[in-house]
Symmetry: C2
Subunit: 356 residues, 2 copies
Amino acid sequence: MASIPLLLMGCGGVGRQLLHHVISCRPLHSQQGVRLRVVGVCDSKSMVAIPDVLTSEFRDDFLLQLCEIKSNGSSFLDLTKTGLALIDCSASSETIGLLSQVINLDGCVVLANKKPLTSPLEYYDKLVSQPRRLRHESTVGAGLPVIATINRMLSSGDPINRIIGSLSGTLGYVMSEVEGGRPFSEVVTSAKKLGFTEPDPRDDLGGMDVARKALILARLLGHRIELDSIKVESLYPEKMGPANIPLDEFLANGLPLLDEAIQKRIESAASNGNVLRYVCLIEESRCEVGLQEVSKDSALGRLQGSDNVVEIYSRCYSKQPLVIQGAGAGNDTTAVGVLADILDIQDMFRHSPSAA
Amino acid sequence: MASIPLLLMGCGGVGRQLLHHVISCRPLHSQQGVRLRVVGVCDSKSMVAIPDVLTSEFRDDFLLQLCEIKSNGSSFLDLTKTGLALIDCSASSETIGLLSQVINLDGCVVLANKKPLTSPLEYYDKLVSQPRRLRHESTVGAGLPVIATINRMLSSGDPINRIIGSLSGTLGYVMSEVEGGRPFSEVVTSAKKLGFTEPDPRDDLGGMDVARKALILARLLGHRIELDSIKVESLYPEKMGPANIPLDEFLANGLPLLDEAIQKRIESAASNGNVLRYVCLIEESRCEVGLQEVSKDSALGRLQGSDNVVEIYSRCYSKQPLVIQGAGAGNDTTAVGVLADILDIQDMFRHSPSAA
């Protein structure tokens, strides 16, 4: 039986959903010889941990209440004596010191949080110094097996030379709707009403979330680059940014001014037999985020709705890419991706080859 | 440093390709803290193992020659004292006893061979009794991450209720070409000339290879079924089977008789706005292999050429499936899938959490 002490950081939507899954999967995990032992929960301000972190665990019913509770800190580093999995479902860039410390102490780290992996290389390198002790599937494409697949390919010597993907459900939806003839401003406004965008849609349209995902993928492929070296195309000009005009004015007067240019680019793509997609593109010496023309017969070109899609080209997948497609956002799918990562490190918690 | 002693069964195309990859990836694995130590190679008749299997390993140059050599047997079960990974790239159903023995002795098993997993449940159950010690990605879709993804989803409590896929590159190619208007007989004949089929194309057209893959997937989902309980649609009638007419006669006089019926079914599908695909379909109480109408807007319906595609529906992927697509055959992609599996079990060979 592998007993994995878990410390959960981040008690928002994903963190709470994850706890629900941990509890509801107990019978399943028991069959698999794994016990997930939640020993602490923390957010940016505080932490609650059980007094005896080495042998005890929170009761399931108490655990669910815990997420809501603010309490005083407690030391947990003792845990690393027997191994610890630190689960970061927060959206903070301030967890990286703690994460690196856990890795240093031979603990394991599972991330849904993109920030630590998009921090400066100096910090990133420390975090990934023990690659088998780090899992972060949900940082790109939520539960879609993008990272796991790339890692499988790389570790088996199938070098990847190109990744192109639509990694924003919002922008995927917007671009496929606009292609059907609806004005850009109308599509963005209705996407906001449907809850498909951030409260301020400029957070999606600016492309920085996609850029973070692109950086995570590029670094996996060995690119030694920083976030600010990625070429990011924003779908609105800087003068319409949050620093210059308020949201209401952007929606009412700014957005419609963008319709014509987008329409022209779509027509230009169509005249080449292509469609326009907002993609991340990673090649040997290139990492870009923005609008690109792609063949309408490719998986990317045929994309409809808010699915994510990633095309991976390698030695084995040279003419036709390996394609992974599906829903790439949402608390539930993200939490499922995190839980799959936790189960994936279980062998670290079996202390000898014959302990199973 | 995790040192993994490997015993390789099967010295055909995949086995040899795998050895080449093992050798060419040595610098990469060394960076990852893994040493793959090949201690034995065997085929159905014989085995060559180094005298001191516990500490030594074959030299790389000798290893490549070994595949061609027939030699007398040697005992290798001593190996399991320190852990052993048995790699089965053969196509034999007779390895299952040995594989189960290795699992029993706390060794690990990696399969490209489908036969052990499609044997009667009595044997299957023994083989999968230690699921963490078994990997078999390449048994379905070669290097495509189909099994890894299904296992991730199941272990994280995202129940799968439907899998539908095109798992034969040959039949995928045939059905997409026939859709374009070419007669079935002409497509099969040219596919044979292009080397896309088995020497006797009836081995593909009969559907048994797809049925084996369907059984592997169905059993992963918990179906307690045997190979002969799967409904398999053959694309030729029994009277044209290898037991009744020779290959030449089948190609010259049998095949053309099948054109009209296939054409009619394609037209019938088109009149419903669908296309015809040769699929495996697994649902809660159903496991079938054969022609099915699918929406032409689905990933399956849009499939062209010889790619495999798998659509997975679950709680998280309910309206739109999780889709995995790409080349699903070939020695190289299969060997890469096997090597990724081997790297995936490396944590079993680190004897304590702090041994990394």
